[in-house]
């Protein structure tokens, strides 16, 4: 790692901390900076403002940063594996699986709070991801990205249709709960959700770090990777598991957030070049930054109402993506 690149990573981390601080400070209710510091250092349970900071803003800041980092790393891994610049976690059927499971959780077990059905989302994402990996035969060929993408698309369509049929035949409350989850919002999620997400992101991040070197070889192409001595089949399976862990946890916790996992790796590649040992952490940083910024903007733009971060990310991410497409040669295009 050159000194210049180390500087960029440190710079990125500093920016991320600044945005996290901003996320604590900004909201529908104005809270002065000293009060926020007090709330963090010596909380007073009778002070409403302290409660808002500790119970609402701290969890959602952590959630946005964690979920963003997970989506960014997962997107970078998928793009390297499939050698497809458009790959993102949703492609593995993860969004559709999580949505289906959440709907089942609400419909069958009448779960009403997010900490209750986050586990359903996680299981659904994992199951769908596993089915796609098996149908896509990632384990024995590992060389056919199109097959994997097709399996993901096919399963997503089936699960999406089933979810739609369930929702249309269920009471209106189910639809209301689902449409809120679908928007990708950090609102109303407590620290218990972050507690589910954090270990998954940590484990996923460690796995990703271990696989980064091998991803460099695979990104050159399956055959070349094998010639370079990489056991491509094993790397594929491990990488798919990592993507499922990261993206599944993030999706279950905050709902399906598009674009962040697609955009961050492109930005990371433009800044860091082709080395995945740099791209992976940079994608995580950039995606965390993007999701936090989207969440803050959603709180500020529609005051006193809120726009969910997933929606802001999609609406702002689209034009940004088009600018990228027009200005740079994207990988593989």
């Amino acid at each position: 790692m050159t000194r210049g690149r180390r500087f960029w990573l440190a710079f990125g981390l500093a920016v991320l901390l600044l945005v996290m601080a901003a996320s604590l400070a900004v909201g529908s209710r104005h809270i002065p900076l000293p009060v926020i510091l007090d709330a963090l250092r010596q909380p007073d349970p009778r002070n409403d403002l302290h409660l808002i900071v500790r119970e609402l803003r701290v969890p959602r800041t952590l959630l946005a940063a964690l979920a963003g980092a997970a989506l960014g790393m997962a997107g970078a891994m998928m793009q390297a594996l499939t050698r497809n610049p458009l790959a993102e976690p949703g492609l593995l059927g993860i969004n559709a699986g999580a949505a289906m499971a959440v709907v089942l959780g609400i419909a069958l077990f009448e779960l009403s709070d997010i900490a209750g059905y986050v586990w359903f989302g996680f299981a659904g994402a994992g199951l769908a991801g596993a089915v796609v990996v098996l149908l896509g035969r990632a384990h024995d060929t590992g060389s056919d990205p199109i097959r994997l993408v097709l399996a993901g698309a096919g399963l997503s369509v089936v699960l999406g249709a089933l979810t739609g049929i369930l929702v249309l035949n269920a009471p209106l409350e189910l639809f209301d709960a689902l449409r809120k989850w679908t928007a990708g919002s950090m609102e109303g999620r407590g620290l218990d959700v972050a507690a589910v997400l954090a270990p998954a992101v940590l484990a996923g991040g460690l796995l990703a770090a271990g696989l980064a070197g091998n991803l460099n070889a695979i990104a050159l192409g399956q055959d070349l990777g094998r010639t370079l001595g990489v056991r491509t089949g094993r790397v594929w399976v491990l990488s798919c598991l990592t993507v499922m862990l990261l993206a599944g946890a993030a999706t279950a916790a905050v709902g399906p957030v598009g674009f962040v996992g697609l955009l961050a790796p492109h930005a990371a590649r433009i800044i860091c070049g082709p080395d995945h040992r740099l791209i992976l952490p940079a994608s995580g940083l950039i995606a965390a930054f993007l999701l936090l910024t989207a969440d803050i903007m959603g709180r500020v733009l529609a005051r006193p109402e809120e726009i969910a971060a997933g929606i802001v990310a999609a609406i702002l991410g689209g034009p940004f993506f088009i600018i990228l497409v027009r200005r740079f040669r994207l990988v593989g295009s």
């Binding site: 096919g154 369509v157 999609a314 689209g318 993506f321 088009i322 295009s333």
Partner: protein, 344 residues
Amino acid sequence: MNGSFRALRLGSLSVLFRPRVALICALLFMVLLALAVLLMGTGTMPLPVAELLAILGGTGDNPAAEQIVMRVRLPRLLTGAFVGASLGMAGAMFQSVARNPLGSPDVIGFTTGAATGAIVQIVMFGAGPLATALAAMISGVATAAAVFLLSRKGGSAGGQRLVLVGIGIGATLSGLNTMLVVMGNLDRAMAAQVWLAGSLNMRTWWHVLPANMGFLLIAPIACWHGRRLSLLDMGDDMARQLGVATEKTRLVAVLAAVSLTSVATAAAGPITFVALAAPQLVRRLTRAPEIPMLPAALMGSVLLLAADLLSQRIAGNLVMPIGLTTGLLGGLYILWLLTRTGRR
């Protein structure tokens, strides 16, 4: 080249005539008729074929049956048939232009764009079917135009860039769509969700008319272009030497396909899979080197009416909009194909 053919000449005009394609067309048409009889004759009030014919001929003597046929079943049937035909033909054109069996109007963000217009109408104004259909059509075509303009660089709209820009625009619009559904009043949001599922329920002559007119206007252009499109398969340089204006042909084809899809979406909401599958199935049946437009349209109708029959009669009390039925079948079809094709 597979399949024999003859050229029919009339002065300077010539048309390729393939007996096999004609046979397939006739067969598909018969299946279509059978499906139509089943759809019109069964249901809460079963009607024998003789009575159906009498009602359609204007000599029916049962006013209640006449009401059901003329007000409910016939509009639904015709909407389904024309929507299916439009989607099948649009799929064939898109797949020819993209030279990719997965080429589909959804890819360039078109379906999402059409949905945006419809959701704005439903959620913000609580609009009825006609206004919703119009809005879907206008916003769909506008989306396609935006994708084209934004992907132009140095004079031509590159294939890869077109797809990428389409995905970007599609994502922005789908964010907008979600926002409208989430922030809207619950009842109207549900109505938008029902529209988004794609449905043939409660179709009136106001749905039939635009679908019908759109198809009859655009289909001739599409058929006329089919031949030139198949020449593009040989590569741009070769096609240009044979006197085909490649860029213009592509533009006309995409515009026609976009218009067909937008008319269909306006009439029935977004319906997946028909545009994807109809051309591929027809190609297997006709064994023709290019995707023939007319059989693809017929196959689209057959697929959609079959799915309609399934969601009306098999599903029982379950609410199963046709768009979700086709999605379910289409997804299963893709997965089945994947398990069938061995290791490569």
